[in-house]
């Protein structure tokens, strides 16, 4: 499974010029798969990713506004978007263009959709898997 996710993340980073890194992380901050054009520590980015998502979820609870879909950090030199893939998995995408917010969100959403489609098509039982 991790292999398929890695393939999608690699393609996502390769196909989008402004995306310089992306990590898929478990909700407790472990790197599931990641790709980058820089030399970031993907492990540290993963831990930060889960912290941001958890704070977003706590914030959503605090103001009673349901769940948190994404958390966006607009930086001087770019944007980092944190988004849920599933309840227990998130993705963080780093763009080096501070004007790319819309594109970053839609392309990351596209990557999430591909991962989710793949997860849905997985065989759910042993019998399905061997058929």
């Amino acid at each position: 499974m991790t292999g398929i996710i890695r393939t999608y993340v690699n393609e996502f980073v390769k196909d989008n010029d402004f995306v310089v890194a992306s990590v898929v992380v478990s909700s407790d901050g472990h790197l599931v798969a990641g790709a980058q054009k820089k030399e970031y520590s993907l492990d540290r980015l993963s831990a930060l990713g889960s912290t941001f998502m958890a704070l977003g979820d706590s914030l959503a609870g605090e103001v009673a506004m349901g769940g948190c879909k994404d958390v966006i950090a607009e930086l001087d030199g770019g944007i980092v978007a944190f988004m849920h893939v599933t309840r227990n998995v998130a993705i963080a995408s780093v763009s080096d263009s501070s004007r790319s917010l819309g594109l970053l969100l839609s392309s990351t959403r596209g990557c999430i959709d591909s991962i989710l489609r793949e997860l849905k098509s997985l065989p759910k039982t042993k019998e399905e898997a061997t058929n």
Partner: protein, 174 residues
């Protein structure tokens, strides 16, 4: 009345989140998520950002109590949460084989902030086995750390309250 920020830190499973939940008079802000690694063998969830609770003392001072994540990969939160704290509680899980090493690690990691404020140690998972407290007193003496040590069951409000009230009086009267 005084507002006092204190930080509860210590290793995974020492009982930081439980302790804050035991004494907070407001619904706690919690950022626990499902543990996916070795932690899940002994507990279902782990803190990835912070815990926050409040407690008003009899003299009216309000304690703002922050809990840190225990796992070191979230250490960026340790520095954020330590800023402005007037006291640190380090919880140690006595049932862990690395209890003393953990205490040593967290004291060294927070030493600079502790030197500018104050601290207390809470030994959890010790039950009635109070003779075992000796090794923590010995350790603190050997390190010339003149701070109080309490046996605490993080699930028991009275235990946790006694410890944080002692810490608050150290802050207010020192």
């Amino acid at each position: 009345m005084a507002e006092i920020k204190i930080v509860i830190t210590g290793a995974v499973g020492a009982g930081k989140t439980t302790a804050i939940g035991s004494i907070s008079e407001i619904p706690v802000v919690s950022t626990d998520v499902a543990a996916s690694d070795a932690v899940s063998a002994f507990k279902a969830s782990t803190t990835v950002a912070m815990d926050y609770g409040e407690l008003t003392l009899d003299d009216g001072s309000k304690l703002r109590i922050y809990g840190t994540p225990g796992q070191e990969r979230f250490s960026f939160m340790w520095d954020i949460l330590a800023t402005g704290a007037l006291g640190f509680v380090i919880l140690v899980n006595h049932s862990s084989p690395t209890a003393l090493a953990d205490l040593d690690f967290y004291i060294k990691r927070f030493r600079k902030s502790i030197d500018e404020s104050t601290m207390a140690v809470g030994v959890t998972h010790i039950g009635d086995n109070l003779s075992s407290m000796a090794k923590y007193y010995d350790y603190m003496n050997s390190q010339h750390l003149p701070y109080p040590i309490f046996p605490v069951d993080a699930r028991k409000a009275a235990d946790v309250r006694l410890m944080v009230e002692a810490m608050a009086s150290m802050i207010i009267y020192e």
